[in-house]
Amino acid sequence: MPSSEVTEARGRPEEIKAVPVRRPGRWIAAAIVLVVAVALVRSAATDPHFEWSVVGEYLFDPRVLAGLRVTLELTVIAMAIGIVLGVVLAVMRLSPNPLVSGGSWLYIWFFRGTPVLVQLLFWYNIAALYPKIGLGIPFGPSFVHPNANALIRPFTAAVLGLGLNEGAYMAEIVRAGMISVDEGQTDAARSLGMRRMQTLYRIVLPQAMRVIIPPTGNETISMLKTSSLASVIAVGELLYAVQNIYSTNFKTIPLLLVASIWYLVCTSILYVGQYYLERYYGRGSSRALPLTPLQRIRAGLFSPRREWS
């Protein structure tokens, strides 16, 4: 073509080195943010009411660490219940049987429609509703019937309350993942002779994972914090532990800071975990993966040009 020949004849023009546009608004905004940040840090560092020495004193207190352990246990168990329940409910929801899908709908409607704090209190007081819990044939004889009060201890009540509530949210997340998978996949699987359940766990669910993982990470982070509600029903988790301590020594603010620091540490770890998990399940998608923070720092150190965004 003649036009390309012309370009070649002239050779490659020199790189553009333009003078960047002045952005005074950015500088003003940055200055305001800086002033606020300095003021906050100064107040935190110099105001004696923060009592950082007390914070340091209690940060690794065995009672606090025990509470932290209970918080982590609650989070892990409740999330496990939530995920398993969520998959089951999502599969039920997509069932052709209207009673099965209706049951799932009803469950989700109830558990998403009532506050989790109310649900926790319900489970805590379940003995008032069902004094005896029996295991046996429906409407028939029961074989074991332990006392509800003995069976549902505060920790069990918290696990049930948080887990069953989480199941309703996870169900919607899993369902969204499943319907994001192209219907042609189901057609192909069935035309090969796979049954409905086989199609589900061999073809649909693995592909749904990419959509399911990110919000599940969010839910886990959220659960870590929501588990503090269990302090209301006397479960010895992190918040309950610090409340116990400051109710005797009245160092309320420093001890709440202790709890906050631990929550921040845990959520930060989860953030990092979620980030890498997403990267893992993002493989094979057409878009290029973003750099990890480590790669970004390395690139920033060794590249001559810095970019503002």
Partner: protein, 250 residues
Amino acid sequence: MLQAESVYKRFGRQEVLKGITLEVAAGEVMCLLGPSGSGKSTFLRCINHLEKIDAGRLMVGGELVGYRQVGDRLHELPESEVARERSEIGMVFQHFNLFPHMTALENVTCAPIHVKREPREAARERASALLEQVGLGDKLDSYPSQLSGGQQQRVAIARSLAMKPKLMLFDEPTSALDPELVGDVLAVMQQLARDGMTMIVVTHEIGFARGVANTVVFMDGGVVVEAGNPADVLENPREARTQEFLSKVL
């Protein structure tokens, strides 16, 4: 191999198939032509019970599709039986529908291993042979996203063949391909026909229909307008509707 007797199918109020009667003998290739919306694809999906028919009879290899006849009443087959019937009918889709989370080889071995319970090693050996046969012997470990459309469609054909089907259904297998990739897929299908596979092909490739088909069927508006051998239907169509359609696509 296939007997269809006044097959009716409707979606909601829309009647898509209005009495299709067709027959395909074993080893024959039938091409279905027709404008979009004429019911070709729906008919194909009825043959392996991906869609239920509302009236009429569909038989594959002498077996009713999706039902069992007891006296003069039809009983729905349980899921496992429907699945078995489907596993004997291969289907190739317009958009390939390969499983994106599996390699080419895993796509082909998946159904033999998990549906037919074949031993892993044997299934893998046969799958690589099949992929070799469709010209993809060097792509066993590639994921679908790393393959061109034509290559994906050939993996899809191999995936269906791995179940040793007695009948193969092709739903516009080349419509989503770049023109230069169509030839490879058609060549594989042509070889398959030569090897004696019974095939029903919905296609717009008139050349393929002329060269490979034993019967060409022209459908429009949910009915069979004209059927016969390719020379008659394609060169000297009797019906005005067929003439009009062919004059547009040729």
